[in-house]
């Protein structure tokens, strides 16, 4: 069963088309990863699904209900974990969760029980009566999730839920996402952390320029660039005068990513160019510390598809 169906959806802001004839089906029970560089249209797509933004053309349905015609009904199906922590510092954890859950029609004992359950789920039971201003970043992120799940939504949209937190809290959140999915919620997950997406998502869509440019499981996406090889070169000095465009001139190279002193080069397997790549570095007086060849991963797929890093 389709939880979300987007059909030829278009949204423009003035002359800029943020989402361009986007079509997408998200099945019940999926953890669906939505990836794309900044400005690719991910947030616009999410905001249209949640009813926060109107769209110009096409149609969107959530659990078979049209988001325009049955706005309140579709909103009731969704729980949103916004990218920014969206809680009230003046309310306790329990009051925060109860307030947001009450907006979905919960009341009385049912509301109290649901709020306590959500806090327990996110490991915040002992902090139910505490104010979030005393919380760490990770605890605030967990409360952010608790506020979205107390009303037991069928669809949970998580927009970068692990930004800026410690590994322990990140791990807790990733386990929570899996558990929520096991309990029956379908999840749309966006992240800048490719390893998170690889770990938890059953299917992934890569967006760029307002369109879905690749869609499938992690394996299916990696197969899209199985004709390529990834070379990781670590150089001795940071910013040693390496130019992406110069490396792209080497025959067979289709994408280059430079992060500090690590250069990731995507190259077609059929072209034998390793000697030319090494020659580029040595002829420019750049000392190579290490060199590694590996099979394409999701990050390489993203780089090959968009020509950009995920964090661009």
């Amino acid at each position: 069963m389709n939880i979300v169906r987007m059909d030829q959806v278009t949204k423009s802001f003035g002359d800029i088309t943020a989402v361009d004839k986007m079509s997408l089906d998200i099945e019940e029970g999926e953890i669906f990863g939505l990836l794309g560089p900044n400005g690719a249209g991910k947030s616009t797509a999410i905001n249209m699904i949640t009813g926060l933004l109107h769209f110009d053309k096409g149609s969107i349905s959530v659990l078979g209900s049209d988001v325009k015609k049955e706005k309140m009904k579709t909103k009731g199906y969704i729980g949103i974990v916004p990218q920014e922590v969206a809680i009230y510092e003046e309310l306790t954890s329990l009051e925060n969760v109860k307030f947001f859950a009450s907006l979905y029609g919960l009341k009385g004992n049912e509301l109290e029980a649901a709020a306590l359950e959500a806090l327990e789920f996110t490991g915040l039971s002992e902090n139910a009566k505490k104010f979030p201003k005393t919380f760490s970043g990770g605890m605030k992120r967990r409360l952010n999730i608790a506020c979205a799940i107390a009303h037991k939504p069928k669809l949970i949209i998580m927009d970068e839920p692990t930004v800026g937190i410690d590994p322990q809290s990140r791990n807790h959140i990733l386990q929570s996402v899996k558990k929520l999915n096991e309990q029956g919620s379908t999840i749309i997950y966006t992240s800048h952390y490719m390893e998170e997406v690889e770990e938890i998502c059953s299917r992934i869509a890569i967006m760029d320029h307002g369109k879905v440019i690749a869609l499938g499981t992690c394996k299916e996406l990696e197969d899209l660039i199985s004709d390529r090889n990834i070379v990781l070169i670590t150089v001795m000095d940071l910013l040693s005068g390496i130019k992406e465009d110069d490396i792209k001139q080497i025959p067979g190279v289709d994408a280059v990513e430079i992060e500090e002193n690590i250069i990731k080069i995507s190259s077609f397997r059929e072209v034998s160019n390793m000697d030319k790549i090494i020659n580029y570095f040595t002829s420019n007086g750049i000392s190579i510390k290490s060199l590694e060849s590996k099979m394409p991963d999701l990050e390489a797929v993203f780089l090959a598809m968009t020509g950009r890093k995920l964090r661009d």
């Binding site: 009813g51 309140m72 969206a86 510092e89 003046e90 947001f100 009450s102 907006l103 979905y104 506020c147």
Partner: protein
Amino acid sequence: MKIYRIIVKEILKNVRDYKGNSMMVLFPIVLITILGVSFSGLFSGTIEFDDAKVLYKVEVEENKAFVDAFESFSSMLEEETGIVFEKTEDFEGSKARVEAKAYSALVHISENPLQISIYKNEGAGLDTTLLENSIASFIKSYDGIMTIAENNPAALGMQRLQEYEGNVQVRSLDKKRQVGSMDYYAVTMLTLILFYASLTGFWAIRGEVEQNTAPRILCAPVSSFELLTGKVIGSIFVSFVQGLVVLLFSKLVLKTYWGEDLLSVGLLILSYAIMTTSLGVALAFLIKSSEAASGVLNAIIPIFVFLGGGYMPLSAMGSVISTISVISPVKWINSALFGVIFDGSYSDMFVSLLVNLGLAALFITISALFSRRRDRAYA
């Protein structure tokens, strides 16, 4: 139920904002005390009815009974309040003397139709207000007497006595209650700080944007009506209670006078809190930048408060200021509160209620129109 939850959340959020609360409650209390003590000399000399002189000109041929009634009434008023009535025949000259502030007012009694007109100089003081209200009571009484005379002439003598004594009794009591500096600033500082309650309304809306909670609320199945209603009612409640705390503290601790009719005073304060809070809410939809909106409020509030006599009595500020002051809702709420508290007069109360609730309706309408486009309203 959702509206109720939003109201409770707004109240809790504001109650726990200790910094904001202390500003809203302590600030006026401190100001009342400081200004009340500093300007006590100014107020002790301003209300002196003994020096007040009023001219009256009679141009009546047929209704001599009315003139007799008026003269009887004015002599009793003179006896009780010290306001001196002098008859005049020179209408234009008398007007000039009032303009020159040699006299407080000129009362002109004319007929066809039978009426009393009062000419006063701009920036007239409390003595003129007292005169106006007394004459208004006199006319009301006279109408009552005439009705009785037509239907039950036997009761006329007793009625006449009771009515006149009633009027003078009220004025006599008022005369004993002069507006002290502490009393004056208790009213004006309360209305000053309640104007700043517009910030409570403003932050009820913009706070959701700044705290990043707007998307979460807007994604929930809550209508724009429920959201706006909950926020407006919650904010009004907070502002009103803050106003009541200031009122009670000033009454019980600073011993300022708030009159006998606290219900009407409360009603006026409530209507004013509704207006100022609605202004803040509307501004939040009209101006997206918090700094710009705060700038607008911080610019207009002192001007309106000044024009409302918030810092100094209007009578001390000259005719031009008095004329312009009608544009300030603070002028109307202050006049209404002073009328109810010190003079038992309700004429300005109804004007103030109309101004406050009319403006509030306008601001809420603007807010309702803007809040329908939720993606833009809370952007």
